[in-house]
């Protein structure tokens, strides 16, 4: 098709855009948001304190690194752990399905904060048995306790995401592969999983974002993540812009991830575009 022929296409006229009530309310609400954002920027510019910045910027940065390490590693380990859980969840054997169901039920049904406390203060109070087992070095460290709690928590969510996505692939795909004589593992890897991942991508993205925000609770078990550093800075300065900066950094991370996930989605669904 040449460009000339495209120009010949007769388009319907643009519908006239009337100033309806909804449109006016919409513009009004958007401008309210705009004003709030402007107010925030003006506040930050006016409250800008180079001394505060030079004193706390390095610790915010180290806190950010801790947050990223903790969340990144627990998401990765949780992904690995979610594979057997998701598999066992639909197993025909009751002995596999029930524990897996209970695991997911518990970790999705209780707050992450409670799980973190249970592992840090609860398990941590059994010092001598843990020492006898040679595990105390692990539970002594707040960072490892947080990693364990986050991994166990995210594994439950990721198992459900994975299970749902695999189930969403029509059974005809399995049957078709079967009729071609493909082994089941190969079918899963090459046919089912790629289709399931398209479905799973958005929920995975949500889970990552929730973990990043949820990770802020480690500050109360003495891990100096981004939130921990913020609390420390606040307790020294009593200046609430310390919390504002933390919020802006969290927002920036989430926004970056959101765009990244959208880019991945565009990439893996390009065969579906018409």
């Amino acid at each position: 098709m040449s460009t000339a022929s495209r120009l010949d296409v007769i388009k319907p006229p643009e519908p006239s855009r009337a100033w309806t009530k909804q449109r006016i309310v919409g513009y009004f609400l958007v401008s309210l948001w705009g004003l709030a954002a402007l107010g925030l920027i003006i506040f930050l510019v006016r409250a800008w304190n180079p001394e505060l910045f030079s004193r706390y910027a390095p610790s915010y940065f180290s806190g950010l690194i801790i947050t990223i390490q903790l969340v990144g590693l627990s998401l990765l380990l949780g992904a690995l752990l979610s594979l057997p859980i998701a598999y066992a969840r639909d197993a025909t054997s009751k002995w596999a399905a029930w524990p897996s169901y209970m695991y997911v039920y518990f970790f999705r049904g209780t707050p992450l904060l409670a799980q973190t406390f249970l592992i840090y203060y609860g398990v941590g109070s059994f010092k001598s048995p843990l020492e006898a087992l040679g595990l105390w070095w692990f539970f002594r460290d707040a960072w490892y306790c947080a990693l364990l709690a986050f991994t166990l928590n995210t594994a439950a969510y990721q198992a459900e995401i994975l299970r749902g996505a695999v189930k969403s692939v029509p059974s005809g795909q399995w049957e078709g592969a079967d009729s071609l004589g493909l082994p089941r593992l190969l079918t899963f890897r090459k046919i089912v999983l790629p289709q399931a991942l398209i479905v799973a991508l958005r929920p995975y993205g949500n889970e990552i974002i929730l973990m990043i925000k949820g990770s802020a609770i480690v500050a109360i078990i003495t891990v100096y993540d981004l939130m921990g550093e913020t609390r420390r800075a606040y307790s020294r300065t009593f200046d609430f812009q310390t919390y504002l900066w933390a919020a802006i950094i969290y927002l920036a991370i989430v926004e970056t991830l959101r765009n990244l996930i959208e880019w991945i989605e565009r990439r893996i669904t390009r065969h579906l575009k018409r």
Partner: protein, 252 residues
């Protein structure tokens, strides 16, 4: 009774109630405290506030003939809550520091504090070697600042409340806890009796504890100061002191 006088009676009753209400509101002082800092301020199992700070506050209110109401608030938000008028005064063993003085005003001090280390009995920890190990402190206290400034190599772990720092001392996650003498003393008399003891002398002393009030609220500060001088003179302070500590806590 004719209708008109009924209305005027109701109105005057309402006016009376209003004036009474405003008079009460004026005399009612809301006092913010943490409630997790025994024996100074702590919550009992049934939710009652008890402790040295609380008894002193009650004695002061009695002296000022004011009605007082206690509000509990986590330590790291206690100064913002005062500034936001959630309460009118903080009586929660708060030390006078330069950073805090920029945010709030303080009354005359009502006791003197010092910092001291506590560690397990079998530990050879002393103030001069505490810096090689993990020190537990409460976030936002002078102990936290002192530990960071004086023990740069130490692994300083800061907890939201003092109770959690002790819990981790018993769990063995920190090698020592640095905190106010008064709280450490009480803990060693009670829950920490079995495990731990004081290590060495106090590391910092002459730290003054006072009531914090909103900046510029000098009328309230004056009232507290007068009442404090009065309970010091009439023996009420000594009575409260003796209830909690066998030593003089006022200092000087």
């Amino acid at each position: 009774m004719p209708m008109l006088s009924k209305v005027s009676l109701a109105l005057s009753a309402a006016a009376f109630a209003l004036s009474l209400g405003s008079a009460q509101a004026q005399d009612k002082i809301r006092i913010g405290t943490e409630g997790a800092y025994p024996p100074f301020n702590a919550l009992t199992a049934d939710g009652q506030l008890v402790g040295f700070d609380i008894d002193i506050a009650r004695a002061l209110c009695e002296e000022m003939k004011a009605e007082c109401e206690f509000v509990t608030q986590d330590w790291d938000g206690i100064i913002p809550a005062l500034q936001a008028s959630r309460f009118d005064a903080i009586i929660a063993s708060m030390s006078i520091t330069d950073e805090r003085k920029q945010q709030v005003d303080f009354t005359d001090p009502y006791y003197t504090n010092s910092l001291v280390f506590v560690a397990p009995k079998d530990s050879d920890l002393m103030p001069d070697n505490a810096g090689d190990k993990a020190i537990g402190v409460q976030e936002g206290t002078i102990a936290a600042i002192f530990a960071e400034e004086n023990y740069p190599n130490a692994d300083v772990k800061a907890y939201p409340s003092q109770l959690e720092a002790w819990a981790d001392l018993q769990n063995g996650r920190v090698d020592s806890v640095l905190a106010d003498f008064g709280v450490q003393y009480d803990w060693l008399e009670t829950d920490g009796k079995e495990c731990c003891e004081f290590k060495g002398d106090v590391v910092s002393s002459d730290d003054k504890i006072a009531i914090a009030i909103r900046k510029g609220d000098t009328a309230l500060a004056e009232k507290f100061n007068t009442a404090l001088a009065a309970i010091r003179a009439n023996g009420k302070y000594a009575e409260v002191n003796a209830k909690y500590f066998p030593f003089d806590i006022f200092g000087e």
